[in-house]
């Protein structure tokens, strides 16, 4: 076997192992029991939403597309469910083109249906508008200039959900759940101009980038990836996709750690030989 063939075969074996580490815990999900995890940065967001009086307005910027859907959707579903249970008024928006389709509208309509909330009264969904920072800046001045109509072309000014709200300065909380630069934009433009408490949710890939903003209190809390979503599901006592997904997640993490250990053993044996 040539070196190249050995490389390919090893790769296929690893791919096969990963597939098994994912599929077996998915199939036997209900037989696996794992303890819950918790973290301060996630709980901060929960505590803030919990502390808001009924009818307070919050805005959720859903800035990811199907490529990060599996990771971030459970997070938004849990947050939105919590907000609806607290009878908050929620404005949903996006500065990400592809989120306007399946993601934003789909999540909002699904959760709203389950929580029996009414479009235009308890929540509103804004259409996608390009210009990211320009949109956020407009929101901090005049929300109706940015969004004169919702995604169904209904006039936003006439909606009860916007009563008493002129800009994001009047909102009690803004939450950006993003797979790209949206959190940065919200920190620099939204938080600086809007001054409202800001929370962030992001993919695991980006989570470490935002820790400096937690210490500086520019972010109230941070939810990084599926693990954070699972923690939130525990907090709101509504376990779902994220909690279930933590089982294969645990197994595959263990597999990767074992692979790293084996790789290092091979490396040290080879080094000693040479």
């Amino acid at each position: 076997m040539t070196k190249e063939q050995r490389f390919t075969v090893t790769r296929w074996i690893i791919f096969g192992l990963v597939a098994l580490a994912l599929i077996i815990p998915i199939v036997y999900n209900k037989y696996i029991k794992l303890p819950d995890t918790s973290s301060r940065v996630v709980k901060n967001i929960y505590d803030h939403i919990e502390s808001l009086p009924e009818g307070s307005s919050i805005i959720m910027s859903i800035d990811f597309d199907p490529s990060s859907d599996e990771e971030l959707r459970p997070m938004v579903m849990a947050l939105l469910w919590h907000a609806f249970k607290k009878n908050l008024r929620v404005i949903g928006m996006t500065i990400w083109d592809a989120a306007a389709g399946g993601t934003l509208i789909d999540i909002f309509t699904t959760v709203a249906k389950e929580a029996k909330k009414q479009d235009g009264v308890d929540y509103a969904i804004m259409p996608f508008k390009p210009g990211s920072s320009a949109i956020i800046l407009m929101l901090s001045q005049d929300i109706f200039a940015a969004y004169p109509q919702d995604y169904k072309k209904a006039e936003t000014r006439d909606m009860p959900v916007f009563k008493g709200v002129k800009s994001i300065r009047d909102m009690k909380f803004a939450m950006c759940v993003s797979a790209g630069q949206a959190v940065d934009i919200w920190i620099v433009y939204g938080k600086e101009k809007g001054k409202m408490p800001l929370g962030a949710g992001c993919t695991g890939v980006m989570a470490t980038d935002y820790y400096p903003y937690l210490q500086s209190k520019q972010l109230l809390g941070l939810m990084g990836g599926l693990g954070a979503a699972a923690q939130y599901e525990v907090l709101i006592d509504k376990r779902g996709t994220a909690t279930d997904s933590m089982k294969p997640q645990t197994v595959v993490h263990a597999l990767i750690i074992v692979l790293i250990i084996i790789g290092n053993i091979i490396y040290f044996i080879n080094r000693q030989k040479t």
């Binding site: 597939a19 990836g225 933590m246 597999l255 790789g263």
Partner: protein
């Protein structure tokens, strides 16, 4: 002059204007910011339409020259057309057939076309997004889940002190993010939080400082006309 100096002047005036705008809390200044941002948003919309030009051009050339794999470009055009038809057809039908009663019952022979605006649930474009675009996007990125395991096996070696630190931090985070960490030892989640909030915060903050300085320097270069790459090409006269 009109080709070079005026664009530089526009950048200078707009840049200085909006730096000053930040410090002027007057309503007029706020309206200016909102108004100009709305223009930027509209220009952004037009530029999205333009972005398609290079894609269309590239695949058109592929088909015209019958380069190997040109059939794939044809498939690209078919799918592109399909999404366009799904998006525009309901509106065109509404426009021509029922101009006064948009959204009302369509004429019978056209009833197979759902007259739902393209960005609403139930519309054909929405369906294409959910069942055509969505699975592709989700799968493309999920593949990295497989490659990352292979990369961890091959490249994650404790070759030096620096590499060992990287490896240990990664393993602690992998353990701490899942219940496995606390099952092994209660202290792992605490160490993970400490890594995030102390060494990671310090490193990321310094990197942010660097990026910010770069952003400011770049912005100033644009305003003062030192950065001229946006004038494009070699003809900058």
């Amino acid at each position: 002059m009109i080709k070079r100096q005026i664009p530089l002047m526009i950048a200078f005036v707009m840049g200085i204007l909006f730096i000053i705008q930040f410090f002027v809390p007057h309503q007029l200044s706020q309206d200016l910011l909102t108004g100009v941002n709305k223009w930027l948003m509209i220009i952004g919309g037009i530029s999205l339409l333009l972005g398609i030009n290079s894609l269309v051009h590239f695949h058109y050339v592929q088909i015209k020259r019958e380069t190997p794999g040109w059939g794939f470009s044809l498939v690209m055009f078919l799918c592109f057309g399909l999404a366009l038809v799904a998006g525009f057809l309901p509106s065109i039908v509404m426009w021509f057939v029922e101009p006064a009663k948009a959204g009302a019952e369509p004429v019978k022979w056209l009833s197979f076309i759902p007259l739902i605006p393209p960005f609403e649930p139930g519309s054909t474009l929405f369906w294409i997004f959910r069942n055509g675009i969505s699975p592709f996007m989700a799968t493309m990125f999920s593949m990295i889940g497989f490659f990352i395991a292979s990369a961890a096996f091959r490249a994650f070696r404790a070759r030096s002190l620096e590499a060992t630190l990287l490896l240990i931090a990664a393993v602690i985070i992998m353990l701490g993010q899942t219940p496995i960490g606390q099952m092994l030892w209660q202290g792992i989640p605490d160490i993970m939080v400490w890594i995030f909030s102390v060494p990671n915060t310090a490193a990321k903050r310094a990197i942010w400082f660097g990026i910010t300085m770069g952003t400011i320097a770049f912005s100033l270069r644009i305003i003062f006309g030192i950065e001229r790459a946006y004038l494009g090409g070699t003809d900058q006269k």
